[in-house]
């Protein structure tokens, strides 16, 4: 195939933020993740835990808890506000102040009628859930001390609140505290500290399970107000609890990074009397586990080490497959880097600023495996701080390197960039069309003449860029009238076609000459994680979250032969077993048969002229091919050329001069910047 010069870039200091809360919506199988910087991400459990939506956070956000009410998502934080999210458009719908001081916990009842929030001032406030808003109903009896955690009884008649050193059970009708459970503090030094009941769960049989800062999981009988059993799970705090739907399994997250499972079993086989027994311990995290979810066949956990871990419970899974593998999601499932291919520039998107870098140059060529001397180092051309508190939602740089655009939920900005002889000047385009208020996705046309902005209800605004500025042309709306936000935009090389993919798994293709929708790609069960339009054949190449590859001919409005062949032949099991999605697809201008794509651990060049690999053939065969003589190679090579040299990839792109740009972010560098975990005594240390 050939040699490639690879620019190995490691100066993108991407730093994810810690996970603070998780919430599961069983009907749609969605998991909502709240991070400490206010970002809310929605993962689709049915679709290989693909990150479907990202609602960007803001500065000084302090989300503490999440709650689903039907399809609606609410969060509450230490700024005392309850936020409802607009999941169609990936932004907050509204915020409402609870007037109770910092809010520690929010929970909805099973019937979906009310929301309860636990506040700093000791009140549990009940909000009625209406169609389009929530309304404050009343306070339950005010207590001394802050309400840390809440849980509704499945019948909705009682709420249990975990506070400092004490647990109260409230009757929701009367609002009074009917039962008071005293939690004893830990032994030894922790005797002087208050015991914080971090999490409570109210089971339908009246059992209350609480996890506190003394490291104990306690089972209480709410009727008599007595302690049934106390389990010392850890030396450190028990931070979070989650009980499964059928109330037979409990997941406990601790400050040590362990997730412990309790199951409601009978001690002697066959007997009727059951009790909660500690069964398994999972040690998948290095830092505090701040949120767990027991979602029947798996335990999902997240915490301060920023990883989102899905641990399948193998006794519930029958066959080995995607569902039975341990998943560890560390990187976002979307691009944070855009590249100006012609100009050799990289744009890094940080939450609060953008950085533009020019790649360096090397001299001479070298043998495989050699490191070339860097003639000119990469330089940072631009550090663009955004105004306002919101985080950047999306950003893009035009292929020629002359335009930079970014958007937050509240604003949209476009800049003109001039780079001449080491002078960089940037001019903000002030007069922007009014429709361009915010964007879910931004895309420049290949000749940098047009700007495509994905907006609400899957519509795309088209604007023309020229010397004077930006002029709005028209809005492209999909035929189906879907309300979901667009995740991906792809423009064709000749400027004729535009493809958009939204979180409803709909892929629309628009004809830019006529400014009308051209066709809709048949809906695939899995969402699109990366797509691009081929420069010469105008085939739309899509990679899905379940690792399937499809190629759709835009002009012919049907799948290409190659795509059908791939579907018939089936992809190699090693390809399908990969657990990180492909986040970028690009093509080789010099060789139309090549497709370059990458995921977190590999990048791959697919050669459409070569045969597809058999199930039994060696998939990762680069080393084997290297060791063979030239004549032999042709017989043994297949279409997928995998390279696993570079790890923890955020972005891979093929530049105009046939050199590859590889943006790596080693996980070690991320973990090195995390705060210290709890001190654990290990042998011989």
């Amino acid at each position: 195939m050939g040699e490639f010069n690879v620019h190995r870039v490691r100066f993108f200091d991407y730093m994810p933020s810690a996970i603070r809360a998780l919430a599961f919506q069983p009907q749609r199988e969605r998991i909502a993740v709240a991070r400490t910087d206010g970002t809310v991400e929605i993962f689709n459990r049915a679709d290989c835990f693909f990150q479907e939506k990202v609602i960007p956070g803001r500065q000084q956000a302090a989300t503490e808890a999440l709650a689903w009410v039907g399809d609606r998502l609410f969060s509450a934080g230490l700024n005392g506000e309850i936020i409802e999210y607009d999941l169609d458009n990936n932004k907050t719908k509204y915020t409402i102040d609870a007037y109770g001081g910092p809010i520690w916990s929010i929970t909805s009842n099973k019937q979906g009628t009310h929301l309860a929030v636990g506040c700093e001032d000791g009140t549990v406030k009940l909000f009625e859930v209406h169609e389009d808003r929530i309304q404050f109903e009343r306070n339950l009896a005010k207590q001394k001390g802050r309400i840390i955690s809440l849980s509704w009884h499945p019948s909705g008649s009682k709420i249990v609140a975990g506070m400092m050193d004490v647990i109260h059970i409230f009757d929701t009708e009367t609002g009074q505290s009917v039962q008071r459970l005293l939690v004893d503090r830990g032994v030894g030094t922790s005797r002087s500290q208050e015991c914080v009941v971090w999490s409570v769960v109210y089971l339908s049989d009246g059992t209350i399970i609480s996890g506190d800062s003394a490291g104990k999981v306690k089972m209480w009988d709410s009727r008599t107000g007595t302690l049934i059993k106390s389990h010392q799970v850890t030396k450190w705090d028990v931070l979070t609890l989650s009980v499964s739907q059928d109330e037979t399994s409990l997941a406990v997250g601790t400050s040590e990074g362990h997730v412990v499972q309790f199951q409601f079993l009978s001690m002697v086989l066959g007997q009727e009397d059951k009790e909660w027994v500690r069964t398994r311990t999972f040690k998948n995290h290095t830092h505090d586990v701040r949120a767990v979810l027991e979602v029947n066949t798996a335990i999902v956990s997240g915490g301060m080490d920023t990883q989102f871990v899905v641990r399948p419970l193998l006794d519930k899974i029958d066959e080995r497959g995607q569902a039975s593998a341990l998943r560890n999601i560390q990187f976002p499932h979307r691009r944070l880097v855009s590249c100006a291919r012609k100009a050799g520039l990289l744009l890094f998107q940080y939450p609060g600023h953008l950085e533009l870098w020019r790649l360096g140059e090397s001299e001479g060529n070298g043998m495989f495996g050699s490191v070339l001397t860097v003639k000119r180092k990469p330089e940072k051309l631009l550090h663009l701080k955004i105004k306002g508190e919101e985080h950047i939602c999306c950003s893009a740089v035009s292929p020629c390197g002359g335009w930079i655009a970014y958007s937050t939920v509240a604003s949209f900005r476009l800049y003109r960039l001039h780079c001449e002889n080491n002078n960089v000047s940037i001019i903000k385009v002030s007069k922007l069309p009014k429709v361009l208020s915010s964007a879910n996705q931004i895309c420049f046309s290949s000749d940098s003449s047009h700007l495509f902005v994905a907006s609400t209800c899957s519509s795309v605004h088209v604007a023309i860029l020229n010397q004077s500025g930006c002029k709005f042309v028209c809005t492209l709306k999909p035929k189906s009238g879907s309300g979901q936000a667009i995740n991906l935009l792809a423009a064709s090389e000749d400027g004729k076609w535009l493809a958009s993919a939204n979180s409803d798994h709909e892929v629309q293709i628009y004809n830019l000459n006529k400014m009308k929708p051209h066709c809709t790609v048949p809906v695939h069960s899995s969402g699109v994680s990366a797509m691009a339009i081929h420069p010469t054949t105008n085939n739309l190449f899509m990679v899905h979250a379940d690792q399937q590859l499809t190629e759709y001919s835009v002009e012919k409005k049907q799948y290409t032969d190659w795509s059908r062949q791939v579907q018939r032949h089936g992809l190699h099991s090693l390809w399908l077993e990969r657990d990180t999605p492909v986040t970028n697809v690009t093509f080789n201008p010099k060789n139309p048969a090549h497709i370059v794509l990458h995921d977190m651990y590999m990048f791959c060049i697919i050669d459409q002229t070569l045969p597809l690999p058999d199930q039994r053939s060696q998939f990762y065969n680069q080393l084997t091919l290297r060791s063979m003589p030239e004549k032999e190679r042709k017989k043994h090579s297949h279409a997928f050329k995998m390279c696993k040299i570079f790890k923890e990839l955020l972005f891979v792109e093929l530049m105009e001069d046939q050199s590859l740009v590889v943006v790596e972010r080693p996980l070690m560098d991320i973990t090195a910047q995390l705060p210290a975990p709890v001190r654990q005594k290990k042998f011989a240390t």
Binding site: G2, F4, R10, G369, V371, Q622
Partner: protein
Amino acid sequence: MAALYESYTLCALADTGPEGTRAIEPDRDRDRVVITESGRAVTVYKVSDQKPLGSWTVKQGQCITSPAVYNPPTKEYVVVTDEKVVRVWKDEDISIEKAFKATVSAEVYRLHSVPDREPLVLFRHGAVRFLDSLLAAPQQTIEEVLSEEEVIRWSAAVQMEQQLVLLFSTEQRGQHCLYVQRFSPNALVKHRLETDSTNSTPLSYAATYRDGNIHLLYLFSSGSVYESVLQARPTVPAVSGTVQALPRSLLLKLPVGEGELTAASALPVDESHIAVVGVPHPLAGAGKDYLCLWNTHFQTLQAARELAGKIYGQLWCFSGKLFVPHGKILSVIPFECQKSSLAAAMGKLKQTSGTNESSGPTLVPTWNALLHSNQTQTQENSRGAGTKKSKMSTRNQSSCPTAEQLAEKIKVGSEKEVQKQVEEFLHGSQPEELQLTAGRLASALVMRCQADPTFYPQAAFTQLVQTNYLCHSGCPDLLVLTLEKNDFRLCQLCLQLFQDIPEAVTCCCLKTILSFQDSELEQVDLEDGLLFMKALTQTAEVSDDGDSGQHNGFCPPVLEEEICDAPPDSEAPGTRPAREPLALDMSCPVGLHKGALLNEVLQVPYSDSLLLPHLKDLNVPQVLLFLQYLRFLYLKYSQDAHSRIPALRKPTVTQIMDWVCLLLDAHFTVLALTPEAKSLLTSLHKFVRSQVKLYSELGKIEGSLEALKKSKQSREIGQYSIEVIELF
């Protein structure tokens, strides 16, 4: 090992005045004792219940002068009061006064009870009478045997198998003597007791009958315990006039600290243990009184018990219990003494039954056997008619002889028969059984071979050895037998598989192998050892050019620069120029078969110090041959020839070098004097020296090599780098 158990009080003691006696005598059975107390009361106690069964006192003014004894034939108690009045009473009598009494004409020193006979009466002046004969005529004249100033200090009656002996010791002006009175015929022998050097007096005596002799144990106030042995019958008639000194041996020197013992007593409890009271505990020091049990064989203190109160220096031992009066009570302390042996002292008890080897090895049931034997049984049951093999195996199982039966058959059967049966047995038995029985069978076979020189079932031996369950200590003579019969195949197998061959046997094998001619060994089938040798010698022929030994530009130093006092190898001109002193190819000095066998010997485990003396048994030509062979091997190994040869077992370089060193050590002087050895040794020396030089040079550059290695491994990538990759 000995142990003292919990003590209990038998009775309280009354104060004994100077004229009162206190003694304990055995009663009619093991559990009853007669205690004479304070010169006034006689009480019979049941020891286990600590209960007095009967008590008799004498009137005021009268005093018991000899402890009461029990008369077994008449079931009566006898006591002497006021030295001359003998009283006899029965159990039923309530008062002594009403019982029979008789006055004798001389003062009685003491009564002694004799098992199954009437008691002996010892008079103050040394005469002895039996009670019956005395009471028949109480007023009979009693002769005076001892001199005026002799005072009896101690007496005891010892019942030997047929004879009765009465011993008593006397003191006269500091001189102690021992009298031995034998009966039928009556004979009195006097012996002189030697005193200790430090003017100490004997404090206590004890006499026991053991192994046909009387052992007399006496404790001196200096703490020494002596033992004298008196024969049952004196061989030499007593020579009148001179009094023989009693030969004695020092048994134990008890540590007494400062001063001397005042009231102490030592009592033998069994043949190697003595109980001592009144001697201070070696650790506790003076001031506290202890009852100690000493082991006289090993001079160790086995057990000690502290006794509260004053020690009277009296100690009795009856039926496994020690009776000690101390303070105000009489304590009974049961004890137990195990047979004293070094094994017991070291922690391993001697096997009590060592003689019956005939009972075969017992199988310890294992889980495997319990679980899987059911399985195999059911499997075989379900197999039904099955194959011919299974039929045979079931048949064999039923007819399979046990190891015992086989061992018997080995003794008598013919060679063919025995081989067949051994084969059957091996085929049919379980591995766990085989572990135990293989050694047994092999020893049986070896014994038969030794007895009958024509009998040699080689196949049976080979099969037994190949089970891998034999070792040298299992059948010690097997290896030597193979050498005798010149069965080198079996010898090779044994050398390979036995892990515990003594060095003497190894050297024996070595000697035998070396002494055989190559031609004689040709017929032996040595399998892979031979393959290794063949491959090793073949490489010698292939790489024939002289530069094969020089790799990586290593240039051996020129001969002129070398400092050696021996002239260079005088080789035939034209074979090798003198420029190359390290002739690295060499032909094998021994035949291939011998070489294979020698390789086996090289791999036998040994320890240096034990091998060295046996190596000296080799004679000079053998040593030279072996050294040549070792040198050949070493040269081959330094060319790395051996690493290319796939063989299961080959000697390692360290083994070869160790053997060279050992050989040289063992035959140092011989080799130094033998002229033939000179060239061999100089060439070996040169080669080794060149190797040492190579390694030292390598060591010098070791640091830079390490740095090179490290630099290749770690590549700092840094924030940005441009690399070249190739995709195929």
